[in-house]
Amino acid sequence: MLPEIGHFALILALTLALAQGVFPLLGAARGDPAWMRVARTTALGQFLFIALAFGALVNAFVSNDFSVLYVASNSNSSLPLQYRIAATWGGHEGSMLLWVLILAGWTVAVSRFSRHLPEDFVARVLGVLGLVSAGFLAFLLFTSNPFLRLMPAPADGRSLNPLLQDIGMVLHPPMLYMGYVGFSVAFAFAIAALLSGRLDAAWARWSRPWTTLAWAFLSLGVALGSLWAYYELGWGGWWFWDPVENASFIPWLVGTALIHSLAVTERRGAFKGWTVLLAIFTFSLSLVGTFLVRSGVLTSVHAFATDPARGSFVLVFLGVVVGGALLLFASRAHRIGLGGRFDPVSRESMLLLNNVMLAVAAGSVLLGTLYPLVLDALAAGKISVGRPYFEAVFIPLMAPAMFLIGVGPMAHWKKTSLPDLAIRLRWAFAVGLVTALLVPFAMGGWSTPVSLGILLAAWIVTSSLAGLLERLRQSRHSMGILAGLRSNSRSYYGMLLAHIGIAVFIAGATLVRGYETDKEVRMSVGDSVEVGGYSFRLDRIFEVPGPNYIAQRGEVSVSRNGRAVTTMYPEKRNYGEQKNPMTEAAIDWGFVRDLYVSFGERLDPTTWAVRIYHKPFVEFIWVGWLLMALGGLLAVFDRRYRIAAREPQPAPAPAMLQFDAGVAGAR
């Protein structure tokens, strides 16, 4: 019964989404407040019905209702409760339902926290979100209904892929979707701005916290995915340039460009057209990501679905969204205007250069991801594009952008002087250079790539600190250091934190690449091996029953210079229904190094192939991403967005900017 209620709830949600998409947009166009007010009510209603449907599906999983086809194919009764809940989004249908749930959640949040915005603008934003939601709900109901029954019901279900039975599965997809879907809000704001002709600094200020929030979630999602792959896949890598990883990384890159471009639009009124385009592209690339993962065009660990109907639906939907948005953009482009003026050497132009680099990098990753598919579709041969290609292309493109992180925030708006910048940054550069020269030796041997990576990382940190010091020095005359620190905005500290996060990430990625050591050995009980200055001894192997598997668990005691460090327990798990045993690596997490022990094959009854890694500073990679996400969050809570919330302001800026636009247009 409950699954049918869930199904009906989805149908009702679709009708509400259509109402939310149609009436507010028409109402805003006709200036009819009653029609505009439909938006908030339908948004809430839609959310409640989708939540009901989602609850019904979760309940089917929790109560092991195998008469539901989707439950039977993704869960079984021996699965522990938390993974039964996570199995809700372990397959295609459920993850789409999670997607629309999150979209409805963002929509309600926007309707709730946008009371200070003009009513017609909110109506348009919610209307666009309603249309997007209607598209996805139709996709669910017509091609991927999770509530289909299976008669007669099997006694037990197929299991969730053991790789997915992990806390990562509980956290990673919701976080990633929060980011993906969050960009639909940026998209809706952009479309609403185009529709209403309000492409101005005020629009940028309204849109900015939402965009930054989505970006922070996406950062967390990407980082969690990488961390999960690192500890679960058992070969110790943290990024594989897998098409599915790229599908989340490309929107991240364009989203990063977008939050920087929005900064210029808010502060200086410039790049309006570019910002709108980026907002459209970020969301479109999130849809492309969905298409890639969900249509089954990829063969990779993440692609669960293979059904052409789904692929074509998403492709058509993508065409409508991108095509419609770009047509609208083209029809309004002449009215956008240029906004604030700036010199070739200014903070604006540096941010523009950063945008170009990020966009080119995103385009290149997209090219490398799609190229083999296109070639295959054209029957022009099968090729593989992997790590060697992406690293050869991505690193040289990103390195200059990373260098700019140090310069851009120190540059003045409108016009800045290069010699002046050089003087202000000379100490930062000197310290960075010395660090880059010393670190490789401290780590155990010169390596040019490592030194270059460390130079970038150190440069970002020192130049960020130089910027902070400069601000403090300027304010010191009037107040103390604490007051000086407090006088900077949260978004400034958010930016610092995110930039330092990039530096930490670069340092981690560089050091682990340069100084990682590993050994693959055959071990019987009593054997020991030395890796990275640590001695690993296999003390015993014993069998441990898990909730739905049997594990061979090894006990490995680790010592350094004769002193015990830790005991590690790598496992090899046999899930009954799976032929191959799964590797569960043991990791001793540490700030400056990870020790990573992973069982390979059993060579004979008492001997195992064991792979042991010493990974210096590998955790800096995820700490860096976490700092980026935290920086984003800090910026979202900047006071000025709340001040705007308290006093609805007519904003004097737009009038002037429109005047500018008019003059520009007249020429």
Binding site: W235, V301, V356, S384, S528, A666
Partner: protein
């Protein structure tokens, strides 16, 4: 740059492996009291193994879902690793091994696609994008600069606009 990087770490690893072997050899000379013994490398020849794995990292496991030959434990991957090892032992260079695999499985086995007609756009694409981006950037900046210099001169347009806004020109000039 990348290959340099790889070979350097490879060298380091090889040196370390050699040191370990020396240490192991020395240990073998000393009569060992306890039962603890040093685990033997899985591979008979660690230096060769390292070379094999470095190559296998940029080759695709053909039956896997986007895993390299080095990462995969699929039967085919194990067989191919044995094949590569065997060929290397017989003195084949990395290029010989790659040629052999490409002849057998096609370009699909290479994670670094070869430069040829069908991949021309793949390899030149990033460069083209970059040139296009820089071109667009330069155009935008030059256009802005023109605006910056022209703006104060265009008094007529300004006066007309101010007239429309109801601001008197006299006030403006004072």
């Amino acid at each position: 740059m990348k290959t340099q990087f790889a070979s350097r770490t490879a060298l380091e690893r090889a040196q370390r492996a050699l040191r370990m072997l020396l240490a192991a050899a020395l240990l073998a000379l000393v009569p060992i009291a306890g039962s603890a013994k040093t685990a033997l490398p899985l591979a008979a020849d660690p230096a060769l193994e390292l070379r094999m794995m470095n190559l296998a990292e940029v080759l695709r496991c053909l039956v896997c879902q986007n895993q390299s030959l080095a990462e995969s434990n699929a039967e085919l991957a194990v067989d191919l690793r044995n094949e590569i090892r065997e060929q290397m032992r017989r003195g084949a260079s990395d290029q010989d091994v790659v040629d052999y695999l490409v002849a057998r499985y096609g370009d699909f086995v290479l994670y670094r696609p070869p430069l040829k007609g069908s991949t021309l756009l793949l390899w030149s694409g990033p460069g083209i994008l970059l040139l296009f981006g820089i071109g667009l950037l330069t155009r935008t900046i030059v256009r802005r600069r023109g605006l910056m210099q022209k703006a104060p001169l265009d008094a007529a347009a300004r006066a007309r606009a101010q007239e429309l806004l109801g601001v008197s020109g006299a006030k403006e000039s004072s």
